[in-house]
Symmetry: C2
Subunit: 468 residues, 2 copies
């Protein structure tokens, strides 16, 4: 007999069906045992007479039984299948469960995080997490379809790549074929996506995995996912912001999200700092916060450069002159500031064609129109104090690509983990990732990072230093 999904039982009163799923809850009433059986489509009450009593919750079973309408007084309004129950004729235990290390019937927030991550495959049975992960899939599908409709092409870019010094530390991957040399995991596909514009694809996107070897502050992940896109023949920041806003709004509508503003308000950096004292802010009233409203806004007209923060090692390296970029060295200034950039003057006044997307107090995305000529990119690096040789060593391949004809272009990256978190009302992005890393950088379920063998190190031409 083919399996029936639990949600479909309501339409099969009087029929004999086969169901399969987890024992969600169990109540014994002497000879009669009531079980809520759970599959991907929902839950239904199944009733066993002189049977089912020995089953432990969270065991996996297959049952055959008759769908019976419940008397009006016994209808369960809390269950989508509350009008029926299954009179079990026979059943088979597909996988017996031992006692669970964590309970899955609450929201789980009170459970120690390390235990939740160790047993993530149990934690994910929790309705809240299950819903988050399913909503993520649906949301990403909607984003993709919105982009396809606008003629974007999805293109994969490498994970094994070159260190590109994008602000945070790179994860390194030792090369066995070139001992003593390393690949780096990408902090973003920034350079590859610009090169796809050189290649003429015009409209690229990717749901891209990115990596940052950071000290794990609250709610940062070692690996994260961004919706990454780039467009050619753009002249104005709105040429990117408008299609992105449309795709985001349509996708949110498809997953039932509630927007505060039909059109996202736009603030300049100066206005935002004056009004909120920060370049990310929460526009919601208390009532809007309570009902899960999403308040998006754009922030534009950021300063291109800032004075180096001497306590930040990466900034000191990048900003040899005492100046470094605020957002992205590959950005172009707003048109009227290009002469200043090329001349290296009024550096603190130069405005970059950058746009950040904020939502409910978080930065959920950022992008810019890019340098697409040698002159502009070189001028940016010169302001940061790079010599011509250092520029060639750092971004020579980009300059070469610009020399060979690169259309004007711009793009954006949206933080998908954070977007799903605001959509689901979660504060922690970990609640929206199936297998996140722990606060100490350990992966969920498995034992990593871990030791490796001497042979493996030998092959890589490496040795591990004694730890003090």
């Amino acid at each position: 007999m083919p399996r029936t999904l639990i949600a479909d039982t309501v339409n099969k009163v009087g029929e004999t069906v086969q169901l399969a799923g987890f024992v969600d809850t169990k109540r014994d009433h002497g000879k009669v045992t009531f079980i809520d059986l759970r599959d991907r489509s929902g839950k239904v009450q199944i009733v066993g007479y002189k049977m089912l009593g020995e089953l432990k919750v969270e065991s996996v079973i297959q049952v055959t039984g008759e769908v019976k309408a419940r008397p009006a007084a016994q209808v369960n309004p809390d269950l989508a299948t509350g009008t029926v129950e299954i009179d079990v004729k026979s059943y088979e235990v597909l996988a017996a469960a031992q006692d669970l290390p964590i309970l899955v019937d609450g929201d789980g927030r009170e459970i120690n995080e390390d235990i939740r991550l160790q047993y993530r495959y149990i934690d994910l049975r929790r309705e809240r997490l299950n819903r988050n992960i399913r909503l993520r899939s649906k949301f990403v599908r909607a984003l993709r379809e919105g982009l396809y409709a606008q003629d974007f092409v999805e293109i994969e870019t490498p994970i094994l790549s070159q260190s590109t010094k994008e602000g945070a530390r790179d994860f390194l991957v030792p090369s066995r074929l070139h001992p003593g040399n390393f690949y780096a995991l990408p902090q973003s596909p920034q350079q590859y996506k610009q090169l796809l514009m050189t290649a003429g694809f015009e409209r690229y996107f990717q749901i891209a995995r990115c990596f940052r070897d950071e000290d794990l502050r609250a709610d940062r992940l070692l690996e994260f996912t961004q919706l990454d896109l780039e467009m050619s023949y753009v002249e104005d920041v709105h040429d990117v912001m408008d299609p992105v806003e449309k795709v985001v709004k349509d996708a949110i509508a498809q997953v039932g999200g509630k927007l505060r503003d039909a059109q996202f308000p736009v603030y300049t950096y100066e206005e935002a700092m004056k009004e909120f004292g920060a370049d990310k802010f929460d526009l919601r009233s208390e009532a809007e916060k309570a009902d899960g409203t999403l308040a998006f806004a754009w922030v534009i007209k950021f300063p291109f450069f800032k004075k180096v923060d001497k306590s930040d090692a990466a900034e000191v390296i990048d900003g040899k002159s005492g100046w470094t970029f605020t957002h992205n060295p590959f950005s172009t200034p707003e048109k009227e500031f290009i002469p200043d950039l090329l001349a290296g003057r009024n550096i603190d006044k130069i405005i970059t064609a950058q746009y950040d997307l904020v939502c409910n107090g978080y930065e959920v995305g950022g992008g810019s129109l890019r340098a697409h000529t040698r002159e502009v990119l070189e001028a940016t690096y010169k302001i940061m104090g790079y010599s011509q040789e250092e520029i060639e060593a750092s971004v020579g391949h980009m300059l070469r690509a610009f020399d060979l004809g690169t259309p004007p272009h711009g793009g954006i990256a949206l933080g998908l983990d954070r977007l799903v978190a605001v959509l689901t009302g979660e504060t922690s992005i970990k609640e929206c990732v199936a297998f996140p890393t722990s606060g100490s950088g350990s992966v969920s379920v498995m034992s990593a990072p871990g030791a490796v063998t001497g042979t493996q190190l030998e092959e890589l031409g490496l040795s591990v230093k004694e730890q003090a």
Copy 2:
């Protein structure tokens, strides 16, 4: 004036339009210059009187001009826009191109591969590659939609993970937060996807990036992409093979692929070896080869175990007893062989519930029904000579998950790079990847792998050995 896509010019005779694109070809006839202008939608002839002559091919320009119908005698049947040409009124050079290091108007096969990869962003302008990458996007979109229609959920699994000894060498990633310890990049999401079945998702898929640190034989990539999926409550190999076959066939139809067989023929391993002397084979006639037909077939009923090949280091490690798995240690035997597996007898006769998908002589996918109980997985490892302690150390987390209730399940992984190669008629998968690695393991465009600084190594607790 908004930009018009070149393909749309045929419907705008008499109108003034603005176009943007690359100078594809140029012919000077004294005062008149003819250019084929190329954008993502196609090419069109533009005509300049006393202008355009100074442009180098592959420069990026924006032109304003009038769409004129060509006289019947001058219609170009080779161009979709061959009925019109653009009488240029004015134009702007958006990015002047210098002389190109490689030509992009042929199929490029005669050009040195290293040069092609160094200038991949130019190589990708080539019509053949451009078409391959666009078709890949379209094909993946169709696969995804087919899976969504069958109620699959897309879920991302970690890239920073644990070494799982799946046959090839793992890439390792040193941990800075845990000096001397390493993450491994996944060879497949095998264990995570099985754990998603424990979590109750029932139908998972992912377009997953995977990694193998292999000596680069012909046409292997260090990183590759697979369509990875897993399903719960499957009893028979056809419960996975049938929906997968449907998704693949529908997606191929959507990109205009031509199938030899409306239903993929199924061979047992024994039949395949007898008929073709191999477990992958090409069913096409010479005529079918010439017209790009795709000949898929399934191969089933493989032996579960084989004698260890003593020249293969990985097999020697896995097969301590002299036996190792042929395909996947997480597979389950076909039902009737479970008693033999549990008893560790007739080892050479045990048939695994494995299914491989072959196409045009290549293996394009493989999967199996899985062990979902402690007994079966332990028995498999015992046959390979693992002690109980070694089993716990290696797959203890999987056994624990099985103890906590895991539905019977099975899945498959399809090699997406190879599938796109057979679809596009390419022999090399590199022609279907935007930025592939070279034969020596160098990444395209950038200089990686490369040296890193002493500070970086210091932070990771590593030192590089002097190379002899």
